[in-house]
Amino acid sequence: MEALVTWVQATWLSRQIVVNEWIWPAAETVHFIGLALVIGIIGFLDLRLIGFFPRVRIAAVRELIPYAIAGFVLNLITGVTFLIGHPEQYVYSLTWWLKVGSLVIAGLNAAVFEWAVAPRTVLLEPGEPTPLAAKCIGFISLTAWFGVLYCGRMLPFFGDSF
């Protein structure tokens, strides 16, 4: 791991991210905008799956998902920017690995939803109760995404990243 960290730090890209003072604040700002899109849209779908907003058609909520994915891509790009700029802040941090773990859980959960649960759930009419599987998916997703947010925001406090 140490060799990898040293190698990344020595790359031209890593140097640029550290040397250009505006890159970090700009990436942070974009990271927070992406966060809002993911939490807002995925969170809305999760709450709907759990049973809130019963009059909202689940099939229609899915049309918002591309915007959540756009937010996620923004966060992936800016997140990788932080990682390349200061890999040592993250790869030795348990909090960061918990964040990555929460992301993996959120991703697997979304995959299970798409393949196994969504096909029947999206057919529900407004007002029909959601099945238990959908409620579980919604709950796991909400927990995992807030876990991602919590671990990310706590990085400076459970370690020395900025």
């Binding site: 604040p25 700002t29 927070f32 905008i33 993911v38 807002g40 809305f44 909520v61 049309e63 918002l64």
Partner: protein, 156 residues
């Protein structure tokens, strides 16, 4: 003004927020502020996207419950924002970017309240008036700018 800031920063609550080594102090307050941000701006974005014509099959009226969520999250951010401000009042009170951020939030909030009126008065065919698009675009721009201003407080 300066006296007030110094006094605020010296209060027990501000001192605890700033100096306590407890994770419940500054880190938790800051994390709740980020959670609230995600809910306020994210839920507003859902409404704005719908007003712009995305996911048309969601009836406008059925989204009005989101405003209650936004109101709770906004209250959380007002409370945590006041704590974060108090903790470093003499520094933050002198940052022009804070006042820019507060102005942007004020405008964005006005915009969101107007969107609520639009949703409540939505016609039976769920069509969005032309000014509904203006409300949606300005809300997206203002909330994004508010996030940028808030983030930049850590850097300027």
């Amino acid at each position: 003004m300066s006296d007030v800031l110094t006094w605020l920063e010296a209060t027990a609550l501000a001192t605890w927020t700033r100096q306590s080594s407890s994770l419940w102090a500054y880190p938790t307050v800051l994390t709740f502020h980020t959670v609230g941000l995600g809910i306020v701006v994210g839920a507003s974005a859902v409404i704005d996207l719908r007003l712009l014509g995305v996911a048309r099959k969601i009836s406008l009226e059925s989204l009005s419950g989101l405003f209650r969520l936004i109101a709770w999250a906004f209250a959380l951010n007002a409370a945590t924002g006041i704590l974060l401000f108090m903790a470093d009042a003499t520094t933050k009170g002198r940052q022009p970017i804070l006042y820019i951020k507060l102005s942007l939030i004020g405008l964005a909030l006005w915009d969101t309240l107007y969107a609520r009126r639009l949703l409540r008065a939505a016609p039976a065919d769920d069509s969005v008036a032309r000014h509904g698009r203006f409300v949606a675009v300005s809300s997206l721009i203002l909330w994004t700018a508010a996030i940028a201003a808030g983030r930049l407080m850590a850097y300027v």
